[in-house]
Amino acid sequence: MTCKNSFLVGLVALLCAAGPARASYDEKNYCQERSRGDVRSLCAGRTLPYDQVRNKKNHELVCTSNVDNYVRFPQTQVSHEEWSGLISANQKQAAYDLKRKLPAIEWSGTIPYETVEEWDYEECERVTQSVPCGTHQVCENVEHDVPTYDTDGKQTGSKKVKEKVCNDEPNTCWTDVTHGASQFCSNESMKFSARYERPSTAEWNINSPNFMDVIPNKYDLLPGETEVVQVYNTSRRSTRLSPSVEIGDAWNKYDTSRITGTAVGATCRQNSNYSFDLTVRTIERDAGKASPNAFRFPVDWEGNAIEPIVWKSANDRRSGKTVDKAVPIKVQLDDTSAGIISLMAEQSRRNAEREATKVAVGKGANAKDRAEFQKIGKKTDGYWKSTKVRVKLYRQVKYWWDTFRGAEKVAEIDAISPTMNFLATNEEVKFSDLWAIPLTADGGNSDPKTFRGIFDSKHMKPNRAYTLEVSVYQPHVPFYKQSCDDNPKQSWRCKKFWRALGMGIGEDRYFSKPLKVPFRAPKEYDGRGWFKRSWISNAPDNFMTWIFGGDVKLDSEKGMGKKK
């Protein structure tokens, strides 16, 4: 029973009074009507609903928050050949000048958002609560047993005692209850222009303490690295606009506070024409991130795709037939970071030679310089490019996590394969290494005695979808997180004690995110032994399959299905 309109209150009060006899007090009416029927809207051309405006208050126009995403890739407009030639010839200044001519990173966009009217209103409602209704006392006679004792203190029995117990109970009364309401007002859009600030030559040059040749603009990304710049029209839903920016998966530390324009701190209103300019300033390179995954699916020098998985044939034990594509022996991928990483390694060795000479002639770097060097992890020892790759095999399961089946690790020496890539016109391909990662001992690895690939020990279930996940780790490259073996001084975790407790730096913290190579196990070939093939060992798997669904369609197969 509600008392919506105040002119009915009298009548209702009479009815209520004539109601249950329990109420030993008067239901008071605290409702106060300050305004009524004010349907004026803050939004031009609209009115508020009549039944939601009694005692209207906190009436305001707020703007919703929305985001614009911009994905930043490494810039490749400058010829890597020319640039790396200059670096190799130690013409550092010329190389710096060349890359400083790269086009500025600038973009602009429009962020759509809504203005929404929000307000509170009150309704007169019957409530039972102490504020503001007050309380009344309700008493009861309670009977309970009280033990009796003799003179020695021994319990002799009990007697019944009556007692009056009183409680304060909240009254029921009529009062104003606040409700919130909102109403869409208009669609707005905010224009913005954004840019990465190129530091001045005075601020960032080849003599700057943390300078490295591969980052002449300070904000440069290396192959395989990407950033997502998320530009918000306002960081939260509010009457005032506060544009902001967040950089996802950032490879540098950034100052993103430089935002100017009419939109900053502006009042949210209808038909606005706000805009803002955003400048991202680079503070320094973030050296604590895992290596990026610069692997790409391979193409030949003419740009035609190469099949990533190389198979070998085998005899199926049961059918006796020879299956052409029975076991994967290697997976081929292009490492697009090879050019830059080997150049950095070469530079580091040259620097190390120079440092050694400097120390020898008594002009060693002073303590301050050395500290600066170590700050960005620049070691005075030169290093060789020794990219490591980890391959994991997963079986794809529908409606469930993929199940891990096995892993292996491969170094450059076993996997880099001759290629004619240098003939390509596409620079990314031209300076990339072709990796043919062996998956079995005879997959091109020349040390069959010690090497054990995934498929040497694991056999696949026929006609099931699998995934190879390939991750990269670039040892010694100062930009990226290092393993404890390669840089034992980086953290307390690398102390023997903690490593023995299993608290060292985990592999996943320095190996990159994986590149997934999906494929399907052959239909006709089953390399599993009799036990693995038997009903017993397959029972749990079959049970799970029965519950969660079994096979997954690969992306390539989905397309084919549609065509049919």
Binding site: H80, E81, E82, S84, G85, L86, S88, A89, Q91, A94, L98, G339, S342, L343, E346, R349, R350, E353, W384, K385, S386, A411, E412, I413, I416, S417, P418, T419, M420, N421, F422, K430, F431, D433, L434, G444, S446, D447, P448, K449
Partner: protein, 526 residues
């Protein structure tokens, strides 16, 4: 050719004596004639078809029916006259076309004349002025076209060979014996030649009278008279300091762009070489544990392949003088030569390039080789081996490493030689040192084992090439790898040549520009 043959036939008909043949091929032709005539003595030879081999000489026609001869001769006369006319017309037509093109270049729309007028009309204004580069380009274009045209004019009379026949008027009634003239190039083109030569020099002098207004990079105007003499222009300051700096930088960049070569070698020859070496060690070493060496021919062939690969590397260094980089190896050395028994050599993926890296490499390889010899399981009882050496030999035999040690002992000297050459290229011994070493090893007096290999990989310019093998361009064969390297190095030389051109443009000819000739000569030297 057709004209030549017709005329020969005609001349042959007119000639009437066999006896006084004065030309060297007269006797052959006579024989041919006799042969044909003997088949049917009644019919004249021209009714039987032309004797193909009849050439200038003397022939006897007295025995033939003179009326029919006259009839034939007149018909042939007419035919030849028509062909001759066509030839002369064509020659003149093509010459005229070229002349028109030349004139257009000078007087046509956008031609030199118009450029001259536009650029020199108002000497003070900078509008319409040409740049120095424009003028140099104009001079180049004009000179090239003019010399082509002059060449055509000069060689016009080299075209028609047999036109003498046109003016040849035989008298059949009187000539019993007729002599065929030896020199047939008698047509007089002098008239055309004189005319067009005159036109050429007219054009030249017309250009020389033209003025070209040039805006120098400094902003000052300059008036160039004619195009034949640019000395005054060249005395001006033709490049701004900024231009010069940019060009110098470009020269630096071109010379520094060694990365293509390095990348190319790192992607092709280097991994292929590593794979070959590691595969040979695996096949004839690691997989041969506790086995006798049965596949002797295969082993020999594999070693031969490796040797050939290193021969190619040596040859490439000798030919171009550009370093290839050596395989990086790891080897741990212990005090007291303990590594001879303990350490193994590990091939690495890296490429050693700098002197320091190469020195380390050389030392590692040398010590590894010493160690391998020390613990060789072969010739255990050879006199001169120390006791511990023999023990090490027995140990490696017991460990099943005797074949691995043996194959490595064979392969390491190649790697050592490779490193030595690489070092040589960056020292004072240099390119010539490598070339001398190459010759000493592979170019013995009779060529030795390497004659066939040299023919295959580094054929001299005079030698016939073009087998399918030699055109291979891949990473699966030694010749393919060699061709890839050839391509890489010659592209590098192209860069050097570009750099040199720019330097020439800067008139700073201090560079050793004989490099191309030298490389060309190297092939013959190898």
């Amino acid at each position: 050719m057709k004209l030549y043959r017709t005329s020969i036939v005609l001349a042959a008909i007119l000639a009437t004596s066999v006896s006084c043949s004065s030309l060297e091929y007269g006797s052959n032709s006579t024989r041919a004639f006799r042969e044909i005539a003997s088949k049917d003595p009644v019919a004249p030879f021209f009714m039987q078809g032309y004797p193909i081999q009849i050439a200038p000489g003397s022939y006897n026609f007295n025995a033939l029916d003179q009326t029919k001869v006259a009839d034939y001769v007149l018909k042939q006369f007419e035919k030849v006259r028509g062909e001759d006319r066509a030839i002369i017309e064509n020659a003149i037509k093509s010459l005229n076309e070229k002349y028109v093109a030349m004139t257009t270049l000078v007087y046509g729309n956008g031609g030199l004349s118009q450029k001259s007028v536009n650029s020199s009309a108002n000497p003070a204004s900078s509008s319409g002025k040409l740049t120095v580069r424009d003028v140099m380009q104009l001079q180049l274009d004009f000179d090239r076209n003019l010399s082509l045209f002059a060449n055509d004019v000069a060689t016009i009379d080299a075209l028609p060979q047999m036109l003498s026949a046109v003016r040849y008027e035989p008298n059949l009634a009187t000539a019993a014996v007729d002599q065929l003239a030896g020199n047939l190039k008698n047509v007089n083109f002098e008239q055309f030649k004189t005319y067009y030569s005159g036109q050429v020099s007219n054009l030249k002098s017309a250009i020389d009278r033209m003025d070209f207004g040039i805006l120098l990079p400094s902003g000052a105007p300059f008036m160039q008279h004619g195009l034949s003499d640019l000395t005054e222009l060249k005395k001006q300051k033709l490049f701004s300091a900024r231009d010069i700096q940019e060009l110098q930088l470009k020269v630096g960049r071109l010379r520094a762009a060694m990365n293509t070569v390095n990348t190319g070698i790192a992607q092709t020859m280097h991994p292929a070489m590593l794979k070959m070496l590691r595969n040979v060690i695996t096949q004839f070493g690691e997989r041969n544990r506790y086995r006798t060496d049965e596949n002797d021919s295969g082993r020999k062939q594999a070693i031969k392949n490796i040797e050939e690969l290193f021969y190619v590397r040596s040859g490439l260094r000798a030919k171009y003088g550009i370093p290839l980089g050596a395989i990086k190896v790891n080897y741990t050395m212990y005090a007291g030569n303990a590594d001879k028994m303990l350490s193994t050599l590990v091939l690495d993926a890296g490429i050693a390039r700098s002197i320091d890296e190469l020195t380390t490499d050389q030392n590692n390889l040398f010590n590894a080789l010493e160690g391998l010899n020390y613990r060789s399981a072969r010739a255990l009882f050879k006199p001169g081996r120390t006791f511990f050496s023999r023990v090490s030999g027995i140990v490696s035999m017991l460990k099943g490493q005797s074949n691995t040690v043996a194959i490595k002992t064979v392969l390491l000297p190649f790697l050592l030689q490779d490193v030595a050459e690489e070092v040589m290229l960056s020292t004072s011994a240099g390119w010539n040192g490598v070339l001398d070493g190459y010759k000493k090893r592979y170019n013995t007096k009779d060529g030795g084992d390497w004659a066939a290999a040299r023919m295959m990989y580094f054929p001299k310019t005079t030698e016939k090439t073009g087998s399918a093998q030699q055109t291979r361009m891949d990473v699966d064969s030694i010749i393919g790898l060699k061709n890839v390297a050839d391509l890489l190095f010659s592209s590098k030389l192209a860069d050097i040549s570009d750099a040199r051109d720019i330097e020439k443009q800067l008139e700073a000819l201090q560079m050793a520009d004989a490099i191309f000739k030298e490389v060309g000569a190297r092939n013959d030297d190898l």
